[in-house]
């Protein structure tokens, strides 16, 4: 496929890997914060190709994984409303909440449908005016503009039976919160490619300027990631931290202004809870008052009991980069893709799912 295959050429990887080996003569700790990077690194066994001096840590980059049990429980309670149909992205369906999951609700006869696009949810609402279609909005800044555009479209079409439950979150402030925890010492970040397609490079500049961290916005193919690691090592060695864009074919410094404008029209920042990181002010997206009639959290009475966490599940620690999946006692023993106990094993971009499937 064009713009993909060329970046997977194994032959071209060799010189990059050799250059990294040559330069990385002291420990370099890098964190990646994008589920698609987690999956790509595991799939192409990139950690094995890199020298031992480079530690590539997984952070809170999987939006499904960082959705709190409380939000999951709320989504599940929405599915139980008579006459409601929950439309969701596929990887949310099997994530366990306190007592149930959307998959279990579906098995009990509730209307839960997997969609590829929020526009598909809109289409269902149009075709079935008697159904209350509630779209479960999960994702960072890559996805939020698509949901915002859908909200605008629902408005344009005058739909009264389409709702959005937003669990959307934003990345840059979450990275600051992660650093402020002071738990891990890092030299740099491998920054998300498609979040940056939307937000550009400027929102990350504080990482370099205030925290002295090397930053590279990376594409997702193995050559992209390897080149980005090389750029990060060069930055760390030269002690000139800045935000560079490796993924130039997909990211402009100013991002996508139209997408940002649409996102801003429908959403405003909110204080939300991240699995593993707790409440982080201003990192959530909630529908603006003008779109209140589309907001599921306003339209429906969603009250849930205090969320329960699975005993022994260490998704939170995995998401903070404190342990690798193997560090969790449940990993591969009780918690497997067939019987997942936490979101890191359910989502195809979760660290645990990647480690289980591709090994470490």
């Amino acid at each position: 496929m064009k713009f993909i295959d060329e970046y997977r050429d194994g032959e071209k990887a060799r010189p990059i890997i050799e250059e990294i080996h040559r330069l990385a003569d002291r420990p370099v700790r890098l964190m990646e914060v994008c589920g698609t990077h987690t999956a790509s690194i595991a799939r192409y066994a990139l950690r094995k190709a890199l020298p031992e001096t480079i530690e590539l840590i997984s952070g809170p980059g999987c939006p499904v994984c960082v959705t709190s049990n409380r939000d999951l429980d709320k989504a599940i309670s929405l599915a139980r409303i008579p006459g409601a149909a929950v439309a969701t992205f596929g990887d949310m369906v099997r994530v366990p909440g306190s007592d149930s999951s959307l998959a279990l609700e579906r098995a009990s006869g509730r209307d839960v449908r997997v969609v590829y696009s929020p526009l598909d949810g809109l289409k269902i609402a149009e075709e079935k005016p008697h159904l209350k279609v509630i779209f479960l909005g999960v994702g960072f800044e890559t996805t939020a503009p698509t949901v915002a555009a859908t909200a605008l479209e629902a408005r344009n079409r005058g739909l009264k039976n389409f709702f959005i439950f937003s669990a959307h979150k934003t990345v840059p402030k979450a990275l600051k919160a992660l650093l402020d925890l002071g738990e891990i010492k890092l030299d740099g970040f491998l920054l998300p490619g498609h979040v940056s397609t939307i937000i550009g490079s400027r929102p990350y500049e504080f990482l370099a300027e205030q925290h002295g961290l090397a930053c590279v916005i990376s594409g997702f193919e193995p050559l992209d990631i390897l080149q980005s690691v090389l750029m990060l090592v060069r930055q760390a060695k030269s002690r000139r931290p800045r935000v560079e864009i490796q993924y130039k074919r997909g990211v402009k410094p100013e991002g996508n202004p139209k997408a940002l404008e649409v996102m801003d029209q429908a959403f405003e920042p909110a204080d939300v809870e991240w699995r593993g990181l707790g409440w982080i002010p201003g990192t959530g997206l909630t529908l603006r008052e003008e779109f209140g009639d589309l907001d599921a959290s306003r339209a429906f009475d969603i009250r849930v009991p205090l969320a329960k966490e699975t005993n022994g599940c260490r998704c939170g620690d995995v998401l903070r980069g404190l342990i690798r999946p193997e560090g969790c006692g449940l990993f591969a023993r009780v918690c497997t893709p067939e019987n997942p106990l936490g979101p890191c094993m359910v989502s195809f971009e979760g660290s645990c799912a990647a480690a289980y499937k591709y090994g470490s």
Partner: protein, 74 residues
Amino acid sequence: MCVAIPARIKSIEGLTADVEVGGVSRKISVQLTPEVHKDDYVLVHAGFAIQVVDEQEARETLKLFEELGALETE
């Protein structure tokens, strides 16, 4: 979740486009990239084009990989 695939715009009608990825066609919204043209490549995520692929930059990136290889053999 952040997966976005490069796809070629075959035709545009208003804010909807027909795209082609690896031989398969589908309809997507170009609401977020209103400046697209036919035959542009766009990144498609959740049924929307989120950015036009900069083909010049794509070529530059590939060239950088080649150059690193060339340096190695000198």
